[in-house]
Symmetry: C2
Subunit: 314 residues, 2 copies
Protein backbone atom coordinates (compact mmCIF):
# COMPACT_ATOMS: atom_id res chain seq x y z
CA UNK A 1 0.00 0.00 0.00
CA UNK A 2 1.36 3.38 -1.03
CA UNK A 3 0.57 6.27 1.28
CA UNK A 4 0.95 10.02 0.91
CA UNK A 5 0.43 12.20 3.96
CA UNK A 6 -0.50 15.88 3.98
CA UNK A 7 0.92 17.57 7.04
CA UNK A 8 1.54 20.83 8.83
CA UNK A 9 3.50 21.26 12.04
CA UNK A 10 3.79 19.38 15.32
CA UNK A 11 0.85 16.95 15.38
CA UNK A 12 1.27 16.18 11.71
CA UNK A 13 4.98 15.60 12.19
CA UNK A 14 4.37 13.09 14.97
CA UNK A 15 2.05 10.97 12.88
CA UNK A 16 4.37 11.24 9.88
CA UNK A 17 7.16 9.97 12.12
CA UNK A 18 5.02 6.99 13.16
CA UNK A 19 4.13 6.22 9.55
CA UNK A 20 7.78 6.56 8.46
CA UNK A 21 8.75 4.00 11.10
CA UNK A 22 6.45 1.35 9.59
CA UNK A 23 6.33 2.31 5.88
CA UNK A 24 9.45 2.27 3.73
CA UNK A 25 10.54 5.30 1.67
CA UNK A 26 9.27 3.71 -1.56
CA UNK A 27 5.69 3.57 -0.26
CA UNK A 28 5.40 6.63 1.95
CA UNK A 29 6.00 10.31 1.30
CA UNK A 30 4.78 13.58 2.79
CA UNK A 31 3.52 16.86 1.37
CA UNK A 32 4.03 19.73 3.80
CA UNK A 33 2.40 23.13 4.12
CA UNK A 34 4.65 26.08 3.24
CA UNK A 35 2.10 28.83 3.74
CA UNK A 36 3.63 29.53 7.20
CA UNK A 37 6.96 30.27 5.55
CA UNK A 38 8.36 33.70 6.11
CA UNK A 39 11.44 35.86 6.04
CA UNK A 40 12.85 36.85 9.38
CA UNK A 41 16.19 38.44 10.10
CA UNK A 42 17.01 38.03 6.40
CA UNK A 43 16.49 34.27 6.68
CA UNK A 44 13.92 32.15 4.89
CA UNK A 45 12.18 30.02 7.45
CA UNK A 46 9.92 27.06 6.59
CA UNK A 47 8.46 26.16 9.98
CA UNK A 48 6.32 23.18 9.00
CA UNK A 49 8.92 21.63 6.70
CA UNK A 50 11.50 22.01 9.47
CA UNK A 51 9.23 20.53 12.12
CA UNK A 52 8.49 17.49 9.95
CA UNK A 53 12.17 17.03 9.04
CA UNK A 54 13.49 17.60 12.57
CA UNK A 55 10.94 15.11 13.89
CA UNK A 56 11.84 12.46 11.30
CA UNK A 57 15.55 12.98 11.93
CA UNK A 58 14.94 12.75 15.68
CA UNK A 59 16.52 16.14 16.23
CA UNK A 60 13.32 18.02 17.10
CA UNK A 61 12.79 19.70 20.41
CA UNK A 62 10.11 17.57 22.08
CA UNK A 63 9.12 20.27 24.59
CA UNK A 64 8.58 23.31 22.40
CA UNK A 65 7.15 21.64 19.31
CA UNK A 66 9.48 23.74 17.17
CA UNK A 67 13.21 24.01 16.73
CA UNK A 68 15.98 21.58 17.56
CA UNK A 69 16.64 19.53 20.66
CA UNK A 70 19.83 20.24 22.64
CA UNK A 71 19.61 23.74 21.21
CA UNK A 72 21.73 26.74 22.20
CA UNK A 73 20.82 30.42 21.90
CA UNK A 74 24.13 32.23 21.55
CA UNK A 75 23.33 34.20 18.37
CA UNK A 76 19.82 34.99 19.60
CA UNK A 77 21.13 36.40 22.87
CA UNK A 78 23.71 38.53 21.05
CA UNK A 79 20.96 40.10 18.95
CA UNK A 80 18.90 40.65 22.09
CA UNK A 81 21.90 42.27 23.81
CA UNK A 82 22.16 44.74 20.93
CA UNK A 83 18.70 45.93 21.90
CA UNK A 84 17.11 44.69 18.68
CA UNK A 85 13.49 43.53 19.11
CA UNK A 86 13.31 39.93 17.97
CA UNK A 87 10.25 37.96 18.85
CA UNK A 88 11.01 34.86 16.83
CA UNK A 89 13.48 32.75 18.75
CA UNK A 90 15.99 31.05 16.51
CA UNK A 91 18.50 28.69 18.09
CA UNK A 92 22.02 28.22 16.80
CA UNK A 93 21.42 24.76 15.30
CA UNK A 94 18.16 25.93 13.75
CA UNK A 95 20.06 28.89 12.29
CA UNK A 96 22.22 26.51 10.28
CA UNK A 97 19.09 25.19 8.55
CA UNK A 98 17.79 28.66 7.70
CA UNK A 99 21.20 29.88 6.56
CA UNK A 100 21.58 26.95 4.19
CA UNK A 101 18.03 27.31 2.85
CA UNK A 102 18.43 31.07 2.35
CA UNK A 103 21.78 30.62 0.66
CA UNK A 104 20.49 27.97 -1.73
CA UNK A 105 17.40 30.04 -2.60
CA UNK A 106 19.73 32.94 -3.44
CA UNK A 107 21.64 30.56 -5.67
CA UNK A 108 18.38 29.98 -7.53
CA UNK A 109 17.67 26.51 -6.16
CA UNK A 110 14.08 25.43 -5.59
CA UNK A 111 12.74 24.86 -2.08
CA UNK A 112 11.95 21.22 -2.88
CA UNK A 113 15.51 20.55 -4.01
CA UNK A 114 16.90 22.33 -0.96
CA UNK A 115 14.65 20.20 1.25
CA UNK A 116 16.11 17.11 -0.45
CA UNK A 117 19.61 18.35 0.34
CA UNK A 118 18.72 19.00 3.97
CA UNK A 119 16.98 15.62 4.31
CA UNK A 120 20.05 13.90 2.90
CA UNK A 121 22.23 15.75 5.41
CA UNK A 122 19.97 14.69 8.25
CA UNK A 123 19.74 11.09 7.08
CA UNK A 124 16.02 11.23 6.25
CA UNK A 125 15.19 8.56 3.70
CA UNK A 126 11.51 9.40 3.09
CA UNK A 127 10.61 12.03 0.56
CA UNK A 128 9.42 15.29 2.12
CA UNK A 129 7.78 17.61 -0.41
CA UNK A 130 7.17 21.27 0.38
CA UNK A 131 3.76 21.79 -1.23
CA UNK A 132 5.13 24.37 -3.68
CA UNK A 133 8.39 26.02 -4.69
CA UNK A 134 6.52 29.27 -5.19
CA UNK A 135 6.04 32.06 -2.68
CA UNK A 136 2.82 31.57 -0.73
CA UNK A 137 1.84 33.23 2.54
CA UNK A 138 -1.04 32.78 4.95
CA UNK A 139 -2.53 36.11 5.94
CA UNK A 140 -4.72 36.00 9.04
CA UNK A 141 -7.53 38.51 8.83
CA UNK A 142 -8.85 39.54 12.21
CA UNK A 143 -12.15 40.92 13.46
CA UNK A 144 -10.47 44.22 14.33
CA UNK A 145 -9.72 44.70 10.65
CA UNK A 146 -6.06 43.71 10.62
CA UNK A 147 -4.32 41.43 8.14
CA UNK A 148 -1.44 39.70 9.88
CA UNK A 149 1.33 37.56 8.51
CA UNK A 150 0.96 34.08 9.96
CA UNK A 151 4.02 34.20 12.21
CA UNK A 152 3.08 37.70 13.34
CA UNK A 153 -0.27 36.23 14.43
CA UNK A 154 1.03 32.88 15.63
CA UNK A 155 4.28 33.76 17.41
CA UNK A 156 4.49 37.51 17.93
CA UNK A 157 0.84 38.01 18.93
CA UNK A 158 0.56 34.47 20.39
CA UNK A 159 -2.75 33.81 18.50
CA UNK A 160 -4.52 36.46 20.61
CA UNK A 161 -6.30 38.33 17.75
CA UNK A 162 -9.75 37.01 16.83
CA UNK A 163 -9.65 35.58 13.31
CA UNK A 164 -12.31 36.26 10.71
CA UNK A 165 -10.78 34.80 7.55
CA UNK A 166 -7.63 33.32 6.05
CA UNK A 167 -6.04 34.42 2.83
CA UNK A 168 -3.48 32.08 1.29
CA UNK A 169 -1.64 34.72 -0.70
CA UNK A 170 -0.13 33.40 -3.89
CA UNK A 171 -1.63 29.91 -3.47
CA UNK A 172 -4.10 30.19 -6.34
CA UNK A 173 -1.25 30.96 -8.73
CA UNK A 174 1.29 28.65 -7.14
CA UNK A 175 2.41 25.50 -8.87
CA UNK A 176 2.37 22.25 -6.94
CA UNK A 177 5.65 20.36 -6.76
CA UNK A 178 5.36 17.97 -9.71
CA UNK A 179 6.84 14.97 -7.90
CA UNK A 180 4.39 15.53 -5.03
CA UNK A 181 1.45 15.44 -7.44
CA UNK A 182 2.93 12.30 -8.98
CA UNK A 183 3.17 10.76 -5.52
CA UNK A 184 -0.55 11.34 -4.96
CA UNK A 185 -1.33 9.91 -8.38
CA UNK A 186 0.74 6.81 -7.63
CA UNK A 187 -0.53 6.26 -4.09
CA UNK A 188 -3.33 4.04 -2.81
CA UNK A 189 -4.48 6.31 -0.04
CA UNK A 190 -3.99 9.85 1.21
CA UNK A 191 -3.67 10.46 4.95
CA UNK A 192 -4.43 13.92 6.26
CA UNK A 193 -2.36 14.21 9.40
CA UNK A 194 -3.75 15.72 12.63
CA UNK A 195 -2.75 19.22 11.60
CA UNK A 196 -4.71 22.46 11.74
CA UNK A 197 -7.37 22.23 8.98
CA UNK A 198 -7.54 26.02 8.57
CA UNK A 199 -3.91 26.97 8.31
CA UNK A 200 -1.99 23.73 7.65
CA UNK A 201 -4.15 21.56 5.37
CA UNK A 202 -6.36 24.14 3.60
CA UNK A 203 -3.28 25.95 2.21
CA UNK A 204 -2.08 22.70 0.59
CA UNK A 205 -5.52 22.16 -0.93
CA UNK A 206 -5.52 25.77 -2.17
CA UNK A 207 -2.60 25.07 -4.51
CA UNK A 208 -4.16 24.09 -7.86
CA UNK A 209 -3.81 20.37 -8.51
CA UNK A 210 -3.73 18.85 -5.05
CA UNK A 211 -7.46 18.85 -4.35
CA UNK A 212 -8.18 17.50 -7.83
CA UNK A 213 -5.59 14.76 -7.27
CA UNK A 214 -6.84 13.65 -3.86
CA UNK A 215 -10.46 13.65 -5.03
CA UNK A 216 -9.44 10.64 -7.13
CA UNK A 217 -8.05 8.78 -4.12
CA UNK A 218 -9.40 7.34 -0.89
CA UNK A 219 -8.67 9.83 1.87
CA UNK A 220 -8.35 9.25 5.60
CA UNK A 221 -8.04 12.20 8.00
CA UNK A 222 -6.96 12.23 11.62
CA UNK A 223 -8.62 14.72 13.94
CA UNK A 224 -6.44 17.42 15.51
CA UNK A 225 -9.33 18.12 17.91
CA UNK A 226 -9.84 15.93 20.99
CA UNK A 227 -12.61 16.63 23.48
CA UNK A 228 -13.34 19.97 21.84
CA UNK A 229 -9.75 21.15 22.26
CA UNK A 230 -6.78 21.26 19.90
CA UNK A 231 -4.02 18.92 21.01
CA UNK A 232 -1.66 21.81 20.26
CA UNK A 233 -2.04 25.20 18.61
CA UNK A 234 -4.97 27.47 17.80
CA UNK A 235 -7.23 25.12 15.77
CA UNK A 236 -10.04 25.02 18.37
CA UNK A 237 -9.82 28.77 18.98
CA UNK A 238 -10.08 29.34 15.23
CA UNK A 239 -13.17 27.13 14.94
CA UNK A 240 -14.83 29.09 17.74
CA UNK A 241 -13.95 32.47 16.28
CA UNK A 242 -15.29 31.38 12.91
CA UNK A 243 -18.58 30.43 14.58
CA UNK A 244 -18.15 26.66 14.56
CA UNK A 245 -18.15 24.54 17.71
CA UNK A 246 -14.69 22.90 17.75
CA UNK A 247 -15.11 19.14 17.68
CA UNK A 248 -13.95 16.02 15.89
CA UNK A 249 -17.09 16.13 13.78
CA UNK A 250 -16.38 19.75 12.82
CA UNK A 251 -13.06 18.55 11.40
CA UNK A 252 -14.75 15.69 9.56
CA UNK A 253 -17.26 18.15 8.13
CA UNK A 254 -14.38 20.42 7.05
CA UNK A 255 -13.07 17.60 4.85
CA UNK A 256 -16.34 15.81 4.07
CA UNK A 257 -16.29 16.47 0.29
CA UNK A 258 -13.43 14.03 -0.16
CA UNK A 259 -13.21 12.07 3.09
CA UNK A 260 -13.54 8.28 3.13
CA UNK A 261 -12.31 7.54 6.62
CA UNK A 262 -11.93 9.60 9.78
CA UNK A 263 -9.84 8.81 12.82
CA UNK A 264 -10.85 10.46 16.07
CA UNK A 265 -10.49 10.00 19.78
CA UNK A 266 -12.39 7.65 22.12
CA UNK A 267 -13.38 10.69 24.15
CA UNK A 268 -15.37 11.95 21.15
CA UNK A 269 -17.24 8.67 20.64
CA UNK A 270 -20.54 10.54 21.03
CA UNK A 271 -19.89 12.16 17.65
CA UNK A 272 -19.76 8.81 15.87
CA UNK A 273 -23.27 8.90 14.40
CA UNK A 274 -22.94 12.48 13.22
CA UNK A 275 -19.77 11.57 11.32
CA UNK A 276 -21.30 8.39 9.89
CA UNK A 277 -24.19 10.48 8.54
CA UNK A 278 -21.73 11.89 5.97
CA UNK A 279 -20.91 8.31 4.91
CA UNK A 280 -17.45 8.63 6.43
CA UNK A 281 -16.01 5.43 7.87
CA UNK A 282 -14.92 6.03 11.46
CA UNK A 283 -11.99 4.77 13.45
CA UNK A 284 -12.41 5.63 17.11
CA UNK A 285 -9.20 5.13 19.05
CA UNK A 286 -6.66 6.84 21.26
CA UNK A 287 -5.21 9.50 18.96
CA UNK A 288 -3.16 11.55 21.44
CA UNK A 289 0.51 10.80 20.76
CA UNK A 290 2.30 11.31 24.06
CA UNK A 291 5.42 9.37 23.15
CA UNK A 292 7.14 7.68 20.24
CA UNK A 293 5.39 4.36 20.88
CA UNK A 294 2.04 6.14 20.53
CA UNK A 295 3.09 7.45 17.11
CA UNK A 296 3.89 3.98 15.82
CA UNK A 297 0.80 2.42 17.39
CA UNK A 298 -1.50 5.08 15.88
CA UNK A 299 0.30 4.80 12.52
CA UNK A 300 -0.24 1.01 12.57
CA UNK A 301 -3.92 1.46 13.35
CA UNK A 302 -4.27 3.98 10.53
CA UNK A 303 -2.54 1.67 8.06
CA UNK A 304 -4.81 -1.23 9.03
CA UNK A 305 -7.82 1.08 8.85
CA UNK A 306 -6.70 2.29 5.42
CA UNK A 307 -6.40 -1.29 4.18
CA UNK A 308 -9.97 -1.93 5.34
CA UNK A 309 -11.15 1.14 3.44
CA UNK A 310 -9.27 0.08 0.31
CA UNK A 311 -10.77 -3.43 0.49
CA UNK A 312 -14.25 -1.99 0.89
CA UNK A 313 -13.90 0.28 -2.11
CA UNK A 314 -12.66 -2.57 -4.31
CA UNK B 1 44.04 67.96 18.40
CA UNK B 2 41.52 66.21 16.19
CA UNK B 3 42.62 62.90 14.71
CA UNK B 4 41.15 60.68 12.00
CA UNK B 5 42.61 57.21 11.51
CA UNK B 6 42.43 55.10 8.36
CA UNK B 7 42.42 51.43 9.24
CA UNK B 8 41.99 47.90 7.99
CA UNK B 9 41.95 44.78 10.14
CA UNK B 10 43.89 43.51 13.13
CA UNK B 11 46.95 45.78 13.42
CA UNK B 12 44.91 48.82 12.54
CA UNK B 13 42.26 47.86 15.08
CA UNK B 14 44.85 47.60 17.85
CA UNK B 15 46.21 51.08 17.25
CA UNK B 16 42.70 52.48 16.90
CA UNK B 17 41.91 50.92 20.28
CA UNK B 18 44.95 52.62 21.82
CA UNK B 19 44.01 55.98 20.29
CA UNK B 20 40.38 55.59 21.44
CA UNK B 21 41.61 55.05 24.99
CA UNK B 22 43.39 58.43 25.07
CA UNK B 23 41.32 60.55 22.64
CA UNK B 24 37.66 61.32 23.31
CA UNK B 25 34.94 60.60 20.73
CA UNK B 26 34.71 64.28 19.78
CA UNK B 27 38.34 64.38 18.62
CA UNK B 28 38.92 60.90 17.24
CA UNK B 29 37.16 58.88 14.57
CA UNK B 30 38.08 56.05 12.22
CA UNK B 31 37.53 55.32 8.54
CA UNK B 32 37.64 51.60 7.81
CA UNK B 33 38.25 49.63 4.63
CA UNK B 34 35.21 47.82 3.24
CA UNK B 35 36.85 46.37 0.14
CA UNK B 36 37.19 43.02 1.99
CA UNK B 37 33.42 42.87 2.43
CA UNK B 38 31.67 39.92 0.90
CA UNK B 39 28.58 37.79 0.90
CA UNK B 40 28.89 34.36 2.40
CA UNK B 41 26.12 31.96 3.30
CA UNK B 42 23.65 34.71 2.35
CA UNK B 43 25.19 37.02 4.95
CA UNK B 44 26.92 40.33 4.35
CA UNK B 45 30.22 40.28 6.16
CA UNK B 46 32.38 43.37 6.77
CA UNK B 47 35.55 41.86 8.19
CA UNK B 48 37.57 45.03 8.82
CA UNK B 49 34.65 47.01 10.26
CA UNK B 50 33.88 44.08 12.55
CA UNK B 51 37.50 43.68 13.65
CA UNK B 52 37.75 47.38 14.52
CA UNK B 53 34.41 47.38 16.34
CA UNK B 54 34.99 44.10 18.19
CA UNK B 55 38.40 45.38 19.29
CA UNK B 56 37.03 48.72 20.52
CA UNK B 57 34.18 46.95 22.34
CA UNK B 58 36.69 44.53 23.88
CA UNK B 59 34.81 41.56 22.47
CA UNK B 60 37.39 40.59 19.83
CA UNK B 61 39.09 37.23 19.83
CA UNK B 62 42.70 38.06 20.75
CA UNK B 63 44.11 34.79 19.40
CA UNK B 64 42.62 34.60 15.91
CA UNK B 65 42.62 38.28 14.98
CA UNK B 66 39.06 37.88 13.71
CA UNK B 67 35.72 37.07 15.25
CA UNK B 68 34.52 37.28 18.83
CA UNK B 69 36.11 36.16 22.05
CA UNK B 70 34.35 33.45 24.09
CA UNK B 71 32.88 32.31 20.78
CA UNK B 72 30.88 29.13 20.16
CA UNK B 73 30.52 27.25 16.85
CA UNK B 74 27.17 25.50 17.09
CA UNK B 75 25.66 26.76 13.80
CA UNK B 76 28.96 26.28 11.97
CA UNK B 77 29.22 22.67 13.10
CA UNK B 78 25.61 22.00 12.06
CA UNK B 79 26.36 23.23 8.56
CA UNK B 80 29.52 21.12 8.50
CA UNK B 81 27.55 18.06 9.64
CA UNK B 82 25.20 18.54 6.68
CA UNK B 83 28.23 17.97 4.47
CA UNK B 84 28.20 21.53 3.11
CA UNK B 85 31.66 22.88 2.28
CA UNK B 86 32.16 26.04 4.31
CA UNK B 87 35.63 27.45 4.54
CA UNK B 88 34.76 30.69 6.27
CA UNK B 89 34.29 29.96 9.95
CA UNK B 90 31.52 32.04 11.46
CA UNK B 91 30.89 31.75 15.19
CA UNK B 92 27.46 32.06 16.77
CA UNK B 93 28.08 35.50 18.31
CA UNK B 94 29.64 36.73 15.08
CA UNK B 95 26.56 35.42 13.25
CA UNK B 96 24.38 37.84 15.20
CA UNK B 97 26.39 40.75 13.75
CA UNK B 98 26.10 39.50 10.18
CA UNK B 99 22.42 38.67 10.55
CA UNK B 100 21.66 42.15 11.80
CA UNK B 101 23.75 43.82 9.09
CA UNK B 102 22.21 41.70 6.33
CA UNK B 103 18.71 42.35 7.63
CA UNK B 104 19.22 46.09 7.82
CA UNK B 105 20.75 46.22 4.33
CA UNK B 106 17.67 44.40 3.04
CA UNK B 107 15.56 47.02 4.76
CA UNK B 108 17.42 49.59 2.66
CA UNK B 109 19.61 50.98 5.44
CA UNK B 110 23.11 52.18 4.63
CA UNK B 111 26.17 50.34 5.94
CA UNK B 112 27.34 53.44 7.81
CA UNK B 113 24.01 53.77 9.64
CA UNK B 114 24.00 50.05 10.42
CA UNK B 115 27.52 50.38 11.80
CA UNK B 116 26.25 53.20 14.05
CA UNK B 117 23.49 50.92 15.32
CA UNK B 118 25.92 48.09 16.01
CA UNK B 119 28.38 50.44 17.72
CA UNK B 120 25.61 51.78 19.92
CA UNK B 121 24.63 48.21 20.86
CA UNK B 122 28.23 47.39 21.72
CA UNK B 123 28.74 50.58 23.72
CA UNK B 124 31.31 52.07 21.30
CA UNK B 125 31.37 55.85 21.67
CA UNK B 126 33.82 56.69 18.89
CA UNK B 127 32.56 57.11 15.36
CA UNK B 128 33.51 54.22 13.07
CA UNK B 129 32.95 55.02 9.40
CA UNK B 130 32.89 52.28 6.77
CA UNK B 131 34.73 54.01 3.89
CA UNK B 132 31.67 53.80 1.63
CA UNK B 133 28.06 52.64 1.65
CA UNK B 134 28.49 51.42 -1.91
CA UNK B 135 29.47 47.96 -3.06
CA UNK B 136 33.23 47.68 -3.48
CA UNK B 137 35.29 44.53 -3.75
CA UNK B 138 39.01 43.81 -3.80
CA UNK B 139 39.89 41.38 -6.56
CA UNK B 140 43.30 39.76 -6.22
CA UNK B 141 44.86 39.07 -9.60
CA UNK B 142 47.43 36.31 -9.51
CA UNK B 143 50.41 35.39 -11.66
CA UNK B 144 48.64 32.22 -12.81
CA UNK B 145 45.98 34.39 -14.42
CA UNK B 146 43.25 34.08 -11.82
CA UNK B 147 41.13 36.87 -10.38
CA UNK B 148 40.12 35.94 -6.85
CA UNK B 149 37.68 37.58 -4.46
CA UNK B 150 39.64 38.81 -1.46
CA UNK B 151 38.27 36.29 1.03
CA UNK B 152 38.74 33.50 -1.49
CA UNK B 153 42.41 34.52 -1.67
CA UNK B 154 42.84 35.43 1.99
CA UNK B 155 40.87 32.74 3.82
CA UNK B 156 40.02 29.91 1.45
CA UNK B 157 43.39 29.83 -0.35
CA UNK B 158 45.29 31.09 2.72
CA UNK B 159 47.18 33.75 0.67
CA UNK B 160 49.04 31.02 -1.23
CA UNK B 161 48.52 32.37 -4.79
CA UNK B 162 51.20 34.79 -6.05
CA UNK B 163 49.67 38.22 -6.55
CA UNK B 164 50.31 40.40 -9.58
CA UNK B 165 47.80 43.20 -9.14
CA UNK B 166 44.83 44.39 -7.11
CA UNK B 167 41.57 45.62 -8.55
CA UNK B 168 39.29 47.56 -6.22
CA UNK B 169 36.08 46.84 -8.07
CA UNK B 170 33.54 49.61 -7.76
CA UNK B 171 35.88 51.90 -5.81
CA UNK B 172 36.33 54.48 -8.59
CA UNK B 173 32.57 54.98 -8.75
CA UNK B 174 31.92 54.60 -5.02
CA UNK B 175 30.92 57.59 -2.94
CA UNK B 176 32.79 58.25 0.29
CA UNK B 177 30.70 58.44 3.44
CA UNK B 178 30.01 62.19 3.69
CA UNK B 179 30.51 62.38 7.46
CA UNK B 180 33.84 60.58 7.08
CA UNK B 181 35.01 63.16 4.54
CA UNK B 182 33.82 65.90 6.90
CA UNK B 183 35.81 64.29 9.72
CA UNK B 184 38.99 64.49 7.62
CA UNK B 185 38.21 68.09 6.70
CA UNK B 186 37.72 68.97 10.38
CA UNK B 187 40.73 67.08 11.71
CA UNK B 188 44.24 68.31 12.48
CA UNK B 189 46.04 65.15 11.47
CA UNK B 190 45.38 61.88 9.69
CA UNK B 191 46.91 58.69 11.11
CA UNK B 192 47.32 55.73 8.79
CA UNK B 193 47.18 52.72 11.07
CA UNK B 194 49.61 49.77 10.69
CA UNK B 195 47.35 48.03 8.18
CA UNK B 196 48.20 46.39 4.86
CA UNK B 197 48.98 49.24 2.42
CA UNK B 198 47.94 47.18 -0.61
CA UNK B 199 44.59 45.81 0.45
CA UNK B 200 43.53 47.85 3.51
CA UNK B 201 44.66 51.44 2.95
CA UNK B 202 44.89 51.68 -0.87
CA UNK B 203 41.18 50.73 -1.22
CA UNK B 204 40.20 53.65 1.03
CA UNK B 205 42.36 56.00 -1.03
CA UNK B 206 40.79 54.60 -4.21
CA UNK B 207 37.38 55.99 -3.25
CA UNK B 208 37.16 59.45 -4.84
CA UNK B 209 37.48 62.20 -2.24
CA UNK B 210 39.60 60.63 0.47
CA UNK B 211 43.00 61.10 -1.15
CA UNK B 212 42.14 64.67 -2.10
CA UNK B 213 41.03 65.33 1.48
CA UNK B 214 44.10 63.88 3.18
CA UNK B 215 46.45 65.69 0.78
CA UNK B 216 45.30 68.87 2.56
CA UNK B 217 46.19 67.47 5.99
CA UNK B 218 49.36 66.42 7.79
CA UNK B 219 49.56 62.64 7.59
CA UNK B 220 51.36 60.20 9.87
CA UNK B 221 51.60 56.52 8.96
CA UNK B 222 52.60 53.57 11.13
CA UNK B 223 54.52 50.73 9.49
CA UNK B 224 52.86 47.31 9.34
CA UNK B 225 56.28 45.87 8.42
CA UNK B 226 58.85 45.17 11.14
CA UNK B 227 62.25 43.67 10.32
CA UNK B 228 61.12 42.91 6.77
CA UNK B 229 58.11 40.93 7.96
CA UNK B 230 54.44 41.76 8.35
CA UNK B 231 53.34 41.72 11.99
CA UNK B 232 50.29 39.82 10.75
CA UNK B 233 48.88 38.98 7.35
CA UNK B 234 50.26 38.88 3.82
CA UNK B 235 51.67 42.43 3.45
CA UNK B 236 55.32 41.35 3.25
CA UNK B 237 54.49 38.46 0.90
CA UNK B 238 52.61 40.90 -1.34
CA UNK B 239 55.56 43.33 -1.46
CA UNK B 240 57.86 40.49 -2.50
CA UNK B 241 55.51 39.16 -5.16
CA UNK B 242 55.14 42.67 -6.58
CA UNK B 243 58.94 42.91 -6.83
CA UNK B 244 59.53 45.21 -3.85
CA UNK B 245 61.73 44.29 -0.90
CA UNK B 246 59.34 44.36 2.10
CA UNK B 247 60.61 46.92 4.60
CA UNK B 248 59.53 49.90 6.66
CA UNK B 249 60.99 52.20 4.01
CA UNK B 250 58.98 50.42 1.30
CA UNK B 251 55.84 51.33 3.26
CA UNK B 252 57.00 54.93 3.65
CA UNK B 253 57.68 55.06 -0.08
CA UNK B 254 54.19 53.65 -0.75
CA UNK B 255 52.69 56.69 1.00
CA UNK B 256 55.41 59.24 0.25
CA UNK B 257 53.25 61.56 -1.90
CA UNK B 258 51.31 62.68 1.15
CA UNK B 259 53.32 61.50 4.18
CA UNK B 260 54.58 64.01 6.78
CA UNK B 261 55.58 61.61 9.54
CA UNK B 262 56.38 57.89 9.63
CA UNK B 263 56.43 55.62 12.67
CA UNK B 264 58.54 52.48 12.39
CA UNK B 265 60.28 49.98 14.60
CA UNK B 266 63.64 50.26 16.37
CA UNK B 267 64.72 47.13 14.57
CA UNK B 268 64.47 49.04 11.27
CA UNK B 269 66.56 51.98 12.47
CA UNK B 270 68.99 51.38 9.58
CA UNK B 271 66.29 52.64 7.21
CA UNK B 272 66.12 56.04 8.93
CA UNK B 273 68.22 57.94 6.39
CA UNK B 274 66.41 56.46 3.42
CA UNK B 275 63.06 57.58 4.85
CA UNK B 276 64.38 61.03 5.73
CA UNK B 277 65.51 61.44 2.11
CA UNK B 278 61.80 61.79 1.17
CA UNK B 279 61.48 64.64 3.75
CA UNK B 280 59.41 62.40 5.98
CA UNK B 281 59.79 63.02 9.72
CA UNK B 282 60.62 59.72 11.45
CA UNK B 283 59.56 58.30 14.79
CA UNK B 284 61.58 55.20 15.60
CA UNK B 285 60.10 53.26 18.49
CA UNK B 286 58.73 49.89 19.54
CA UNK B 287 55.66 49.49 17.31
CA UNK B 288 54.76 45.86 18.00
CA UNK B 289 51.60 45.87 20.13
CA UNK B 290 51.73 42.67 22.19
CA UNK B 291 49.21 43.75 24.81
CA UNK B 292 46.70 46.48 25.60
CA UNK B 293 49.32 48.57 27.40
CA UNK B 294 51.42 48.59 24.21
CA UNK B 295 48.45 49.95 22.27
CA UNK B 296 48.02 52.90 24.63
CA UNK B 297 51.75 53.55 24.87
CA UNK B 298 52.16 53.57 21.07
CA UNK B 299 49.04 55.73 20.70
CA UNK B 300 50.47 58.23 23.19
CA UNK B 301 53.78 58.35 21.34
CA UNK B 302 51.94 58.90 18.05
CA UNK B 303 49.84 61.70 19.51
CA UNK B 304 52.94 63.44 20.88
CA UNK B 305 54.72 62.90 17.57
CA UNK B 306 51.69 64.32 15.71
CA UNK B 307 51.73 67.42 17.92
CA UNK B 308 55.39 67.95 17.06
CA UNK B 309 54.61 67.67 13.37
CA UNK B 310 51.72 70.10 13.71
CA UNK B 311 53.94 72.61 15.56
CA UNK B 312 56.62 72.33 12.87
CA UNK B 313 54.17 72.97 10.05
CA UNK B 314 52.74 76.04 11.79
Amino acid sequence: MKVVALAGGVGGAKLVDGLAKILSPDVFSVIVNTCDDFEYFSLRISPDVDTVCYTLADIANPETGWGRKDETWIAYHEITKLGIPNWFKIGDKDLATHLLRTTRLKEGKRLSRITDELCKGWGIKHKIFPMTDDMVRTIVKTTDGNALGFQEYFVHQACRPVVSEFDFQGAANARPVVAALDAIEDCDIVVIAPSNPWVSIDPILAVPGYKEAILKKPVVAVSPIVGGKAIKGPAAKMYEELGIQPSASAVAEHYKDFLDGFVFDNIDNNELRKIQRWRIIPLVTDIVMKNKQDRVRLAEEIVTFSETILNRSR
